[in-house]
Amino acid sequence: MAAQEFYTRMGDGKRVTMTKEKIMADLQAGTADAADMGTIPALTADDLERLLDIICDRNRVVAVEPGNEVVLTYDIGQLDFTGDNGNSGNGVDMGRLEAALIHERALGADTFELAHSDYSIKPVKPVISMEMQTMEEIQQEIIAPFFYGAMPNMGLYYAPDGPYGNPADLMREFKIDESMQQSELAAEHLARDIEYVGNKIMAAGADGFDFDTMASAGDADFVGGLKGVEALRKANPLAYINTGMAGESVMGIHGGIEFHGKTVAGLFPHQQVKVCEEAGANVFGAVCNTNTSKSLAWNMARAVTFVKECVKQASIPVHCDLGMGVGGIPMFETPPIDAVTRASKAMVEIAKCDGV
């Protein structure tokens, strides 16, 4: 490596070296891409210089300056330990109580959550009594706010996994109206299930609910999730409700479905947060997707641009999703620590997000 070059990463985690000039060029291109796509302001020259310093830091691991520490919230429950490496985990088997206490007492988690191994609303329904019992048991021991976490995951409501026609199949047959109708029905079903599962688990002592990966099946999934959040908020005025997104833009699988009169397809983080607020969320989990063919610099600049605008527009705290393939971090089962810490520092100190 030449003296004027710096170790950095590509979006797939590959180690590369780049000059300062090349890193700055990628930072500029990354922020321009986000600004163009989201019709939002690009990062300022000062922001880009700051990002450059973070990326070019010669230390393997970087951290926020003292006083800039933020809340750490964790999703996916115990699965980050118990899941295998095809499931974002470490393959270390343990019970849910042990996982909760390790996150609280060893990893410094400020919040944690109970999660079912399938981590989706629908499969929780038949086992809700057992989930309630476990929630009660863990609440006896844990001090940190302890939530229930699940993905709305509306894909499970479509054929072959559920009762509604699959839009992918229907659109392939040009049955567009039917596809839209099935999406709407699935969204209503999802909202009912969220209300059922959410109210039960809140009754068992949960401090709140983390809706992870909202809109993973597109805009109708988002609307179903938002309606569920709305119902849960109505029944539990003091619940802590976190809505984390699946992607930086809501996919238009329906194309025209609305929440409170607003079409949700195509919404970007700074717009997503406003509808989540309306539904009754306390915290918003902003997501920006990583492009595996671009550098860490390009991805970080792009993600920070989206999240900075989201924080600016939000009236509730924004906790940025930072992990495999999101928030500027490479798409790799075990995200490289150099990239994770750089993206985290940038999100806190430049995008000014309230938590990670």
């Binding site: 797939d12 659109m171 392939r172 567009i176 839209m180 833009s249 194309g255 492009n291 595996t292 798409m331």
Partner: protein, 216 residues
Amino acid sequence: MTQEELNERAKKAVLTYNINESKKVAQDALDQKVDIVDLIQNGFTVGINQVGDLYEQKKLFLPHIMAAANAMNAGVDILTPHLGDKAKTADNLGKFVICTIEGDIHSIGKDIVAIMLKVAGFDVVNLGRDIPLKDIAKAAADNNAVAVGTSALMTSTMVNQKAFEEIMKKQGLKGKCLTNVGGAPVTQQWADEIGADVYSENAQDCAAKMVKAVKG
């Protein structure tokens, strides 16, 4: 009505998802004996490409793409029997087998790509998700496919794209049928490493690159 006016009507019919108008333009073109290949290429296709651009900009979404394709097909179906030898110059790009690779159940991205390929002029054979490698190769052979595309969302399943390249070589399909790889963790470097013919970053990119690859 001039060729340009008919082309403009065809484009507008696609942009407004108007099936009846699309059929009417096609019939008018036949009645007036204008160049129907020109109508397809500079009317209908221009319209669908504009819809594709708006999709890329996230101003239109999948149902809009489908509605536009539906309108375009309604017109093109009327013209096709009259194309004769000219059909070879119109968009009829052959069969494209597509699926999510063995071990991977993620299908939304793959389905979007399938739709964009169909819109681009391929006869798409969508096998679904988690398809065994030998079944993908068999489908490519049975369909005499011009190309086969595999999608992987996870680094733990993208390795099967490499194994698939080996199967294609062993069965003598490599060179006869183009291999296309895509999915979130997949990169150009990975495609080069495993010997895939085409890497696609997203649905639009896939359609554009595959049309170019097939047309030469």
